[in-house]
């Protein structure tokens, strides 16, 4: 065995991406004591938050280490067999609802019968995964934050880790922003950005390895600082989502009853409901804000809501596209307005909030990926690499994190075996596999869908039109009834009169364009 380096691989971050990389390395035959996983959380998982639904069955690949994860992992909450999509305005709520026997893994004959969607709570799941890693013999260190990588022929004390994220004294503004690292000597900067990475620096001490895996999640300081992603130099709120979520305790029985869930038995986990919502709740709040802060007049916040049932609790939250946030609106107020919508308030009635949290999620798409996924001696995986498929309603990040981790693990093991861990070798294995994987295929295929889902109409008049029309069609208040079509046209007319942007957005061509985009969903 080769003992020149302290480890074969060091993984920074024990989220889904980091854990999958470590398990895959093990599976490929790398010894557990040659793999180090470090995480800044203590206990591990304590820093992590998601919506969240884990899609797919990526964890099956690690059965030998995880056993029956569906039943045993404390953070894997309910198997989702019940999905809702909703349109909310301030008063009305319309839901489209589906229950699928085949999603239970017990029923259904036409579609593959398989449990493939899970509500998860990350603090519990990640702590459990870390435990399993340790049981499998992997070195796991909790409560350690890495802010510097070791680079060959570069003394790590020659620059300060904080230089990488500190704005320069004369920083400039907007896209011209400069960071302290930009003012360091040229040669030094070159090494930081292009040298061979050979380990991590922790509290002034160097730990060496052949390949560093950056699995640090969405606040990708290292990814940007070490120039996988040029964007540090133009900090940008484009393509970033902020999620705000509360975990609300309702109790198991109440959830089973309120959401019609199967309570679970020895063999089958409890079932649950997942709901995503298009929101048009912020018209009045925005208009008030514009009066005080006219800079962003006309801008509505683009938010989506989500609501998932866990075993004892529900996860209730919103996703805000940071770019669309107008001045004068606090994100926490946007969340509270969601919670106060009558249909949502009814679902959480009697519940007790037990946690409040916020977390970023990249929504890069193909156009805004890091410009490279590898460097000599290092790779990026998961959220740090922006590998999230988000379409404004649904987010798939955890399965992508797991999948990219697997691909990285397999690639690294091969490169180590071949004795070549250069960027070229890692590209030929990891990057190539990534680009062929479903992650990239999804991102490509769903580009037009993203266009549809980001359409401003979906955050203003679409939910209003659907809600109001349904309200009037379904109701009897002793007035003459009209056909649904007539009501729709009448409601459209009213909404168009109400303001200018509706008038423009809801003209026939606007609606047709939206309809055409919607085909690509």
């Amino acid at each position: 065995m080769d003992e020149e380096t302290d480890f074969d691989a060091i993984v920074i971050g024990a989220g889904f991406a980091g854990a999958a990389t470590a398990f895959q390395l093990l599976k490929e035959g790398i010894e557990g004591d040659r793999i180090l996983v470090v995480d800044r959380g203590e206990p591990i998982g304590g820093k992590n938050m998601t919506g969240g639904i884990l899609w797919g069955r990526e964890l099956d690949a690690f059965k030998e280490y995880l056993g029956n994860w569906e039943m045993d992992c404390p953070g894997i909450e309910r198997c989702i067999n019940h999905k809702k999509v909703g349109f909310l305005n301030n008063e009305d709520a319309i839901f489209i609802e589906g229950r699928f026997a085949s999603w239970d893994g017990t029923g259904g004959t036409e579609e593959p019968s398989q449990r493939s969607a899970w509500s998860v709570l990350r603090a519990k799941t990640d702590a459990w995964l870390a435990e399993k890693m340790e049981e499998a013999g992997i070195f796991v260190m909790a409560g350690i934050k890495i802010d510097q990588l070791n680079i060959n022929d570069l003394d790590h004390t020659s620059y300060n880790a904080r230089d990488l994220t500190d704005p320069d004294k004369d920083s400039g503004v907007g896209k011209a922003q400069k960071w302290k690292v930009d003012s360091l000597p040229r040669e030094l900067v070159d090494k930081i950005r292009n040298g061979t990475i050979s380990g991590i620096v922790q509290d002034g001490e160097v730990m060496t390895c052949k390949v560093v895996v950056i699995a640090e999640g969405s606040n990708s300081i290292l990814t940007r600082a070490y120039h996988f992603d040029r964007m540090l130099h133009a900090q940008s709120k484009d393509d970033m989502l902020l999620g705000i979520k509360e975990v609300i305790h309702l109790g198991k029985e109440r959830i089973d009853e309120r959401f019609n869930c199967f309570p679970g038995d020895e063999e089958r986990p409890p079932s649950g409901m997942a709901m995503e919502l298009a929101l048009s709740l912020y018209r009045e709040m925005s208009q008030d804000a514009w009066e005080k802060y006219p800079n962003t007049k006309g801008q509505y916040p683009r938010c989506g809501g989500f609501f998932y049932t866990n075993e004892e609790t529900v996860s209730c939250g919103i996703i805000v596209q940071l770019k669309s946030l107008p001045e004068g609106l606090h994100t926490y107020d946007l969340y509270q307005a969601f919670k106060a919508q009558p249909a949502i308030a009814a679902l959480i009635e009697g519940g007790e909030v037990i946690e409040y949290g916020g977390h970023l999620c990249p929504e890069y798409g193909l156009h805004r990926m890091p410009h490279r996924f590898t460097r000599d001696g290092a790779v990026v995986v998961g959220d740090a690499a922006g590998l999230v498929f988000a379409n404004g309603m649904q987010i798939q990040g955890m399965n992508n994190a797991l999948h990219s981790g697997k691909l990285a693990g397999a690639a690294i093991a091969r490169c180590i075996a071949n004795g070549d861990v250069s960027a070229a070798a890692l590209d030929a294995t990891y990057t190539k596999a990534l680009k062929k994987s479903y992650i990239f295929r999804d991102l490509k295929r769903f580009k037009p869908a993203t266009k549809f889902l980001n359409h401003p109409g979906n955050f203003t008049w679409v939910p209003e039109l659907i809600g109001k029309t349904a309200n009037r069609v379904f109701r009897e208040i002793g007035e003459e009834k009209f056909s649904a079509e007539k009501v729709l046209l009448k409601t459209r007319k009213e909404l168009r009169k109400r303001n200018k942007s509706n008038k423009k957005g809801m003209n026939i061509f606007g609606i047709m364009r939206l309809g055409l985009l919607g085909r690509k969903l």
Partner: protein, 105 residues
């Protein structure tokens, strides 16, 4: 600073939500976020204020003339680092073992 807000029928305080999170706050000299508040004087948009889900940034929205930033309540989401394009925010994660710990996630 009172953070009490009114939405429709009910009032709430974002700080109540923060009270549910487990914090281990590091000393001032190791504050993970440092804001150069002089730069805020010139700032036209205060996007940090609007973005922060934990109300760590208090400024003209609260009737203050000068930016008042508290790293103590931070939930480490990273929004302010993204929102400030004036070079006023130096951002990093808290030192290992410090900051928030979620029990649910």
């Amino acid at each position: 600073m009172s953070g009490t807000q009114k939405i429709g029928m009910f009032t709430y305080d974002v700080k109540n939500g923060l009270g549910l999170i487990d914090y281990n706050i590091d000393d001032h000299e190791f504050a993970h976020i440092i804001v150069d508040i002089k730069k805020c004087d010139e700032c036209s948009h205060m996007m940090c204020v609007w973005g922060c889900p934990a109300q760590c940034y208090n400024f003209r929205d609260q009737g203050l003339k000068q930016m008042k930033f508290q790293y103590e309540d931070c939930i480490e989401c990273g929004t302010c680092f993204i929102m400030c394009d004036q070079g006023a925010v130096s951002w990093n994660h808290p030192r290992g073992g410090f900051g928030i710990t979620y029990s649910q996630g």
